[in-house]
């Protein structure tokens, strides 16, 4: 098996890896000292830009550029929000970081806060992640006791408080402006952009929202240099990435691979291939918000932002969901569409109505009462909810509908012909 550089998971074999003691024993909390004592905020932002790091939440926006948009001249307080509301189906990497590498994430937050002139930062963690919340709260206390958080950190005059904020169960709060609404004590409705959070975010103040994995990568870049980081993987998509593999593979789990690795290397070398000798039918490479790839497409798929785009999908959240031949694609699409319908915040009509109608249209196919014209109607519904809403949930919901029906159309037609799912093991309903 090919060796991969480990930036986020190097020391996770240590059962105490979540403690400050273990993190420091493995060289942790050096980067932020270097940052606070030897670097200016501008220099840090420049390093981040040069590293080429792109956000690990899903969109892949360049982190240094995002930081440089922060309205520094604003007289208002500025905020940093660590987006730990990991809720994209098939995604469980930030959970691993919060449970096992908590301090690396916190160190990244301290560096980001210093670079962005932030003195109050939030970790917004989905309410379901109890162990992550407990670990992060404990880690914040440990860091406070050590003088890494609080007033006058390391005698540099820099103050920072970090508050762990517990969500209460809503996928849409993982959208950055939905998260800000939630933090403001409101329903988690996404907000119209512009204004972007960097200008007008939390409580109307300049705010940067970064994903957990993104922030956890920051200390390594400062410690090892942006040049070293930029050399890992493809030029425009550098670094390593946590891939969460689930579904019909032998060894599901989180794997850290260098960007630019073949998708099938992840599946065959790291996950041990398909379970029970099953044949691959398709893979969703980055959570259900991105189009599925057929087995043939998987063979040529490369795991980086731009290569994925070239073959018509996205790297997304890193949630790699593997479908073996035993999977019913009709039922799978219903499962995903029900999810988006449940999680639509209801603010925008195309999304609220579109996701609901898509579910109603899909049910008959699963029950063997589907009709051919309804396939076209489903495609039409998907098309009409895209690009017409405040946030990207509707676009995300359209993605499996379109890609499943286009790429697995025969299965839908077979469901009509056979009066339901004839050839698969999962035939309840």
């Amino acid at each position: 098996m090919r060796e991969h550089k480990k930036i986020l998971t190097a020391n996770l074999d240590d059962p105490e890896s979540h403690t400050l003691k273990s993190y420091e024993a493995h060289g942790g909390y050096k980067a932020f000292q270097k940052a606070l004592k030897e670097m200016t905020p501008e220099e840090i932002i420049e390093e981040m830009k040069k590293s080429g790091l792109r956000g690990r939440g899903g969109a892949g926006f360049p982190t240094g550029l995002k930081w440089s948009f922060m309205d520094k001249k604003s007289p208002k307080p500025k905020y940093l929000v660590n987006n730990s509301d990991e809720s994209e189906p098939g995604t469980f990497k930030d959970r691993l970081l919060m449970e096992r590498n908590t301090h690396q994430m916190l160190e990244g937050m301290i560096i980001a806060a210093y670079a962005l002139d932030v003195h109050l930062a939030f970790v917004y963690i989905r309410g379901e992640y109890t162990s992550c919340i407990e670990n992060t709260e404990r880690a914040v206390e440990e860091a406070k006791e050590k003088g890494y958080l609080g007033k006058n950190i390391l005698g540099t005059g820099f103050d920072l408080e970090i508050i762990v904020y517990k969500g209460a169960g809503a996928y849409i709060c993982g959208d950055e402006t939905g998260m800000l609404s939630s933090l403001e004590g409101k329903r988690g409705y996404p907000k119209v952009k512009p204004p972007f959070p960097a200008i007008q975010g939390l409580f109307g103040c300049p705010t940067v929202v970064n994903n957990t994995e993104t922030l956890a990568t920051v200390p390594w870049i400062l410690q090892n240099g942006s040049d070293t980081y930029a050399k890992i993987g493809p030029e425009k998509s550098p670094g390593t990435r946590l891939f969460c593999v689930s579904g019909h593979v032998k060894k599901p789990g989180v794997y850290e691979l260098e960007m630019g690795s073949p998708l099938m290397e992840l599946i065959n070398d790291h996950c041990g291939g398909m379970q029970n000798g099953s044949r691959l039918k398709g893979i969703i490479p980055g959570g259900p918000s991105v189009p599925i790839l057929t087995a043939e497409e998987c063979d040529k798929a490369i795991l980086d932002f731009d290569s994925m785009k070239e073959i018509g999908s996205h790297l997304g959240s890193g949630g790699v969901i593997v479908f073996g031949e035993e999977a019913c694609m009709v039922r799978s699409l219903l499962v995903l569409t029900e999810f988006f319908a449940d999680e639509s915040c209801g603010q925008c009509t195309p999304c609220r109505e579109g996701t609901g109608w898509a579910v109603k249209l899909l049910h008959p196919f699963v029950e063997g009462k589907g009709e051919l014209p309804d396939l076209d109607l489903l495609m039409d519904v998907a098309d009409r909810m895209k690009f017409r809403t405040v946030c990207t949930l509707a676009d995300a919901a359209a993605s499996p509908i379109e890609s499943f029906i286009i790429k697995y159309r025969k299965e839908f037609e077979d469901h009509i012909a056979n009066g339901g799912c004839a050839s698969h093991s999962q035939t309840q309903n």
């Binding site: 189906p89 403001e184 329903r187 689930s246």
Partner: protein, 165 residues
């Protein structure tokens, strides 16, 4: 029944109310404090919380109803939330669901007559590599098999009998 919280909960609420740049941010944390103590945020709690923030009850309810984890009515001592999303579907969570329904003799959304268990389905809980899985109250149980579920349910039944509901 008049609405009364423990001294501990009142202290925690006091802390949350003064913790954020804008007081409104304390709403979700206050929901959690009440929820942890009473098992739900019922109508009395809504009135009480509205008073704390000088919000209308409607505004409080509007926020409360947005989040699936916050209940407005009390449920069983053990609330079983079985994940039904794609990774758990591929790993046949439906076998676990029928097994739970047989064991507990309830349908999804119902509470057992003795008030010990509530069974519900949940969207992705971020435990996809260890599917099928369920969250019971606030703990995760992963890599579920029928045998393991039987063991767990029996254990909770015993515990409920010895400790009372």
């Amino acid at each position: 029944m008049s609405f009364e919280l423990s001294e501990k909960a009142k202290k925690e609420i006091e802390r949350e109310l003064g913790r954020y740049p804008v007081k409104d941010s304390a709403l979700l944390p206050v929901f959690w404090i009440v929820h942890n103590e009473r098992g739900c945020v019922d109508d009395e709690a809504v009135e009480y919380i509205a008073g704390l923030f000088d919000f209308s009850a409607a505004k409080v309810l509007g926020v409360l109803s947005f989040y699936w984890m916050l209940r407005r009515k009390s449920a069983g001592k053990y609330v079983i939330s079985l994940c039904k999303n794609i990774s758990c579907y591929l790993r046949e969570y439906e076998n676990i669901l029928t097994h739970l329904q047989d064991l507990l003799k309830v349908q999804v959304g119902e509470t057992t007559k003795d008030g010990v268990f509530t069974l519900q389905l949940a969207e992705c809980l971020g435990s996809c590599g260890t599917a099928p899985m369920m969250m019971v109250n606030n703990r995760y149980y992963e890599d579920l098999t029928r045998e393991r579920v039987t063991e767990l349910v029996e254990g909770w039944r015993k515990e409920a009998m010895t400790n009372g509901k």
